[in-house]
Symmetry: none
């Protein structure tokens, strides 16, 4: 998050948005190429053709640069689906998440998740940037589904909303990315079946 976000600044040379972008792009490139550990501020500055101070003027730490670099990148999840068919919507969302885990974004998410442990700001930003919306939407889908009688009325909504992401995340982080393409359907079939 940019240190100065408001528009209260008026005098002096304004910050160049070119540099913002150059820095974030460089950070992202290097992150993908070498992972979080191989990422150095010196490297970002060099790659972006920018002085280190120009980075630190905008962000307080390596972690924050990466937060924003990654945040700007991953948020292109497409629209949250809402077709009226809850199960189809959930499968869509699971699949979008699954695709995120695969591809280059997966490595980035993993790297990011790894750093969350140590940097609470990162954790929150991670949440805000590409978890919160999805979570909210899934919850609404489930709630509506329960209300419409598509899931049993005594369902544990909280868990039901969480089970898909949880299984995908578990597969990704704890089972070395064992993510078959039909996993979304499997999950729905097993844990969100139609009431008999």
């Amino acid at each position: 998050m940019s240190i100065v976000t408001g528009d209260e600044r008026r005098v002096g040379r304004p910050r160049s948005e070119d540099r913002d972008r150059a820095i974030l792009d460089a950070a992202l490139d290097l992150l993908v190429e070498q992972g979080f550990a191989g990422l150095s501020m010196e490297g970002i500055a060099a790659r972006a053709g920018v002085g280190k101070a120009t980075i630190y003027r905008r962000w307080k730490s390596k972690a924050e640069v990466v937060v924003e670099a990654l945040g700007g990148h991953v948020c292109q999840l497409g629209e949250l689906p809402d077709t009226g068919d809850v199960r189809r919507d959930l499968v869509s969302m699971y699949r979008a998440l699954l695709e995120t885990f695969k591809g280059a974004d997966g490595a980035m998410m993993a790297a990011f998740a790894a750093e969350k442990v140590r940097h609470h700001e990162l954790r929150d930003e991670f949440d805000r940037t590409f978890v919160a919306d999805r979570r909210r939407h899934m919850r609404q889908l489930i709630e509506r589904g329960v209300a419409e009688g598509r899931f049993p009325p005594d369902s544990n909504i909280e868990l039901l909303a969480e089970v898909g992401p949880a299984l995908l995340w578990h597969r990704f982080t704890m089972r070395h990315g064992l993510l078959p393409d039909d996993l979304p359907e499997q999950i729905v079939a097993q844990f969100l079946p139609e009431p008999t």
Copy 2:
């Protein structure tokens, strides 16, 4: 993994097992206290009362020290329960896992999980130490449960065996440890219900 693993060495002063232990203990302590990133070889050496060379004589890098530190660590899983009542056994295991997350081992697991991404050896050791036995046991419980008709015969065994750990892990890593004490029961009630 120790640099010299065979028993071909015979001459000269043998490596001191005291030092092995002192180093690994120090590494583990510091890992829990400060996380992987806050862990320095210099710190380990100082805490273990050992020269840096004594560490590098045994392991090639920080990662390798940690792998072995982890390997030497006996994760207190408690006994793997087997009472004949599948659901009770699963609740027991979920609870043990939940306690692990809450205790000192939890911090350690988080720290390791973060590093797994970058170090495959670490990932494997992590699996061996914290995960493999439990996973195997849970799967057996589920398989037996299905065989005995305690779960529907068309259950997705793989997912059923995974859903509990997945939800706990998700709560722990992605929801900042939102782990109510009755979560095991909730999970079983929602996802592993008795067949009607």
Copy 3:
């Protein structure tokens, strides 16, 4: 000699002359206190309140730091005497040299002399700093003395100019500093007597 000597650098923060001085002073102090061998880059950095990189940015090795430390050191020769009385002038110079050996500069000269053997740059700088002026002046005194008939006309000027420093140096380095106060007079009386 400083790594960057030209004035081609223009951009970036300029090197601080304060640090140059702090480093060289620290080096010189430690050299006198502990000798060349007891001199560590880490020690210099600590004493100068400077990071090690700041030293290595300027010099490539310990030897080069010392060379320059020595170069910056103004050896207090006192004025080169020229009273017209050759023998009195020589006694003065011998005494100044003797005092140099006895004082802090003596320890320094010994330390440097020891190291000269291994580092030719050091040898030359040592010569420039401690020796060259004195040598030239003594030679001139002797030459004039011979010209004026104060020494026999067939004198070996080279040796005559050298005998005093040689004896003092020999006493200092080979006889543990056996340097009685009247040694200058003894030398003149024995080796530079008035022609009969």
Copy 4:
């Protein structure tokens, strides 16, 4: 100096003289090849095919090994001349010293002298091994010369005995080895002339 010099040892396996020699030879070789600074105990041990403890059992430090290595080597100065002709004897001795300074021995003496500054044991041993005898002999020659009227009766014997070695040493250490072959004769002619 060997740590155990007496012959009070009787029990157990006796020290191998082969090893003494192997160690000293290795030390000397390496000293000549790389100088005192490039000399490591590890290197000596390896070159001699000997354990480090075997060296430390005999000598307390690197310096002492070198003392003995060098001592054993240089003492082959030949007989101290005593022909009855004082000046010829002195020229002989000066020349022997001069030859020592030239050759490979010179580098060794310089290396040795350099270390004397820091190691008093070295200084004393240096003295004992290849200075003391010569000095005593020169002094006797001079004393006899004065007694026999070959030098003026009011000569400063101490200085007269010292002037040759002092000039040679000065040339060697302070003038980069400016040692012409007739320097011995020059010295005698200038500073030890026949009384008129």
